[in-house]
Symmetry: C2
Subunit: 368 residues, 2 copies
């Protein structure tokens, strides 16, 4: 109902979305589709039994928001380079890398749902059960999803390296691509560790955000696009400043959605982050401001896989009642405004400047 209300009030026709403009959306899909078709042939040459791997990946890729490819693409266009199929292939490589990270993340978190579907490891697990195979179905599902993530990671690299940009351009982008991979995986380990330590510090939560997600979602893709294009240092600096701010806003939005989001929109069950015990800035702020009774609610709920709807409701009350939710919403707004002002000052040429402004909105808006 709320969703309907929001969509009917959007009467002003939206500018062409940065996810679709210049046929980015359909070109990305075409690139991914034909790349996967080629890899499926390779897998089929090993055994017909491997077809299931390509199918599972296609299903996951079909539902992606593709923010990262869009940042890369507009980072390239903002440096004055023309629309080009090679850069779309480089952008598609980021989507494959992201799929690899999600596949492994879901195994590590034991998540059931991703992008509104059963997670890959649960699908393999169900296939094992349906075929009455030997051994533990859950272990089989996890192993298959780890392998699919590995394939996806190798394919991401294959697509990036073979995207068709000339070697000197690729060599400029490589260090950004490499740094992104190392930092995001390091950040994920840090995230694991913070959950296991049960820390509640705001600064620590901010650090996890920064490495695990903010840099990875916005900073590196945009810088990668700019670097591949050979953008001047002045523009790369503006990209960095823009994305450091925006990346944090994006992750704060993600944290809020992880507790308050509508499952039909997030594609994940309500409260999954609470069940997994994620130490987000939102939770850390609430913990800082909470009464002993409110702290007890948080402590009892975080990392509790059997969390009920009623307990989740109480967690939401604590997050809102302590003022943590309001503080995070204000942070998101402030960070996004500063990011957009920074970008505006850099006078990125049309249409990339407007598209990046619009991406900033898309990545942080309340209803996505």
């Amino acid at each position: 109902m709320t969703a309907n209300l929001i969509s009917t009030t959007a009467t002003r026709p939206a500018p062409r979305s940065p996810l679709d403009a210049e046929e980015l959306g359909s070109n990305l899909w075409r690139v991914l589709d034909s790349f996967l078709a080629r890899q499926s042939e390779v897998l089929r040459s090993v055994s017909a039994d491997l077809a299931v791997l390509g199918e599972a990946l296609s299903a996951l890729l079909a539902k992606g928001k593709r923010l990262r490819p869009a940042f890369l693409y507009w980072g390239w266009r903002g440096a004055g380079e023309p629309a080009d199929n090679s850069v779309v292939r480089a952008a598609a490589a980021l989507e494959l890398f992201h799929a690899a990270a999600l596949l492994h993340d879901d195994v590590m978190d034991g998540s059931d749902t991703r992008r509104g579907m059963a997670t890959a490891h649960r699908r393999f697990e169900a296939g094992h059960r349906a075929s009455r195979l030997l051994g533990d179905p859950a272990a089989f599902g996890r192993a298959a999803a780890v392998l699919l993530g590995d394939l996806c990671m190798a394919w991401s690299d294959e697509l990036f390296t073979g995207c068709g940009l000339d070697p000197s351009r690729l060599a400029r982008g490589r260090p950004v691509f490499d740094l992104m991979r190392t930092q995001v995986m390091g950040g994920q380990y840090l995230d694991l560790l913070e959950q296991a330590r049960g820390e509640f510090g705001v600064e620590r939560a901010r650090s996890v955000i920064r490495w695990k997600s903010a840099k990875y979602t916005v900073e590196h893709p945009l810088l990668l696009g700019g670097s591949l294009a050979g953008a001047p240092p002045r523009l790369l600096d503006a990209y960095s400043a823009f994305e450091v701010l925006l990346g944090e806003a994006f992750q704060l939005r993600d944290d809020v959605l992880g507790v308050f989001g509508d499952p039909r929109r997030t594609g994940k069950p309500a409260g999954d982050d609470v069940r997994e015990g994620k130490r987000t800035v939102l939770v850390a702020l609430a913990h800082e401001r909470a009464t002993p009774a409110q702290r007890a609610v948080l402590a009892g709920a975080l990392g509790n896989p059997q969390l009920t709807e009623r307990e989740l409701h109480r967690v939401r009350e604590v997050l809102a009642g302590t003022g943590a939710l309001g503080a995070v919403e204000r942070s998101i707004q402030r960070l996004t405004e500063r990011a957009r002002a920074t970008l505006a000052a850099a006078a990125v040429p049309a249409p990339a400047g407007d598209m990046l402004q619009e991406l900033a909105r898309t990545a942080t808006v309340r209803s996505t």
Copy 2:
């Protein structure tokens, strides 16, 4: 004691090993060591807590046999190219890729031991316990090892791409590197599936070998070295013929060691392959020839994680008693001889020709 006996009887000075000649061994170690030191800096810039990742990887790499890098290196030298540090870096990338595959493989199989040490996921699990962290120590250990494998996979690619060979050489090697990754992961999925199906067919077991291991250990590394060197098609064909034969012999040897090997030499507990239920050619042949009573022994032991020393002994008796062990030993010998004859006919220039002959011996010999 056995180890002592063997080393004192080796009176004839061995030819310089292909793993050490031309300083390959020490150069490889230097490359890996300095690459890891650089990556550890990147991880440290994220958080000091990440130092443990680099340490776990160093420990694993220190104990590797490094067959794959040696095949790559001598494949390059055999094409007439000089010793070169860039190709050593490309070879080291294969060792990192192999480490990634082992890290994930051990998580999937739930193995406790690798290269004579606790597996990485068990070490992370023990660290979790020792620090009295929250949550399930085993799940933490698995997640950390998956992430370390992901890092290793990305680093392998980073080292390969940045090895210093010029872009035209790299472009010749790329398709081999890419195909290797897709085929080995596809082969691993096939292996999982065959275990879960509980199949005993010799042909199916041979197919798993072929994709999961034979091509990956010998064929692709050697072809990769030859391709990077720009070897003529005639030599690449000879490499292929050599390695198809040798790769199968290598994997058959590995299967025998998985049941009969001395843990002090294999670095894994005796009978781990039986506990995991691996459908090897050795097992498939025994199954084909077994009496009903012998089949019952196999069926009860394969995939039984609680297998006792006594039950393992009975499995060994079945494998030997059915004649399967003897048949596999004869296959190894025949395949290795044919591989060596094929290589001899190709007249690969010195010293690479001798080194590849010696590698063929090392990879398939009974006592390693």
